[in-house]
Symmetry: C2
Subunit: 105 residues, 2 copies
DNA sequence: TACATTCATCAAGATTTCTTGATGTGTAAT
DNA sequence: ATTACACATCAAGAAATCTTGATGAATGTA
C-alpha cells in the first residue's frame, strides 16, 4: 500500500521543526542537560553543579533547548526549574518513524 | 582489538553515537538529501539536479552523512550511488525511546 | 592516446555557533 | 534600604561549520 499522507495529531511535525529539535540535541552539553533532566525537573543551580558548567554557559544552552520546545521552565522564588518536554521527544521519534516508512516502500 | 561496549545489537547506542546522528541530520541540506534518498538509492548526479546543489557542496554533505553512518555508497562505473541506512535511523529512534523511558520512571 | 564525465578533496573565505566575563533583573533576607 | 542570591542577557572573541572555486583521481568513450 502507498504511504499515507495524513497522520495522527501527535505525529507529523514538519521537517523544519524536526530539524530544530535535532539541532538542539546535537550538542554534547545540551545532550547532558537533557539526560540530566530525564529523571525529573531540576533548578539551574543544581544543573550547574551537577554538570560543572559556568552559569552563563548553561543558561545559553538552556535557552536553545527551550526555544526548540524541548524544555519548559517554572519559576519558584529565586529558583528556576527546568523540565524535559517529553512531547518534543515523541514528535521527533514519530518523525523518524515516518521517514522510515517512506523508506520501506 | 575492538573493545566492544556491552549493548544489544540494534538498541542502545551510546550518547556519543546518537549525537553524531543528530548532528548529521541537523542541517537543512542534509535533511533534504536524506529525504531524497528515503525512496531508494540515487547517484550523485541525480541528487545534484534534484536538489539544485553545487557538486562540491553536495559531496561535502554526503560525506558528513556517510561518516555518521546514515548513508552507504556503491560505485558502479562512473557513478556513485548513495543509499539511506535505515539501521541508523532505527538506532536513533531506539535511543529516543530509551531517553523517554528514563523520563517516565 | 586523448578527452569527457563523475565524483572526491582541498584551501581560503564566509557564516554560524559557542564561550567568556561583565552587567542587568528579580527575589528574598537582614 | 541594603545586601546576597539565582538567573538571564549582552558583546566580543574563539571555534566549528559551511561554501566556493579549483584541482585531482578514476572510469569510460572516441
Amino acid at each position: 500500500m502507498a504511504a499515507q499522507p495524513q497522520a495522527p495529531a501527535s505525529c507529523c511535525i514538519a521537517g523544519d521543526q524536526a530539524r530544530a529539535l535535532l539541532k538542539a540535541l546535537a550538542d554534547p552539553i545540551r545532550l547532558q542537560v537533557v539526560e540530566a533532566l530525564a529523571p525529573g525537573e531540576r533548578c539551574v543551580c543544581e544543573l550547574t553543579e551537577q554538570l560543572g558548567l559556568a552559569q552563563s554557559k548553561l543558561s545559553f544552552h538552556l535557552k536553545v533547548l527551550k526555544d526548540a520546545g524541548l524544555l519548559s521552565d517554572r519559576q519558584q522564588g529565586r529558583w528556576t526549574y527546568y523540565r524535559l518536554q517529553g512531547r518534543a521527544l515523541e514528535q521527533l521519534r514519530d518523525w523518524l518513524d515516518q521517514l522510515m516508512l517512506c523508506r520501506s516502500s
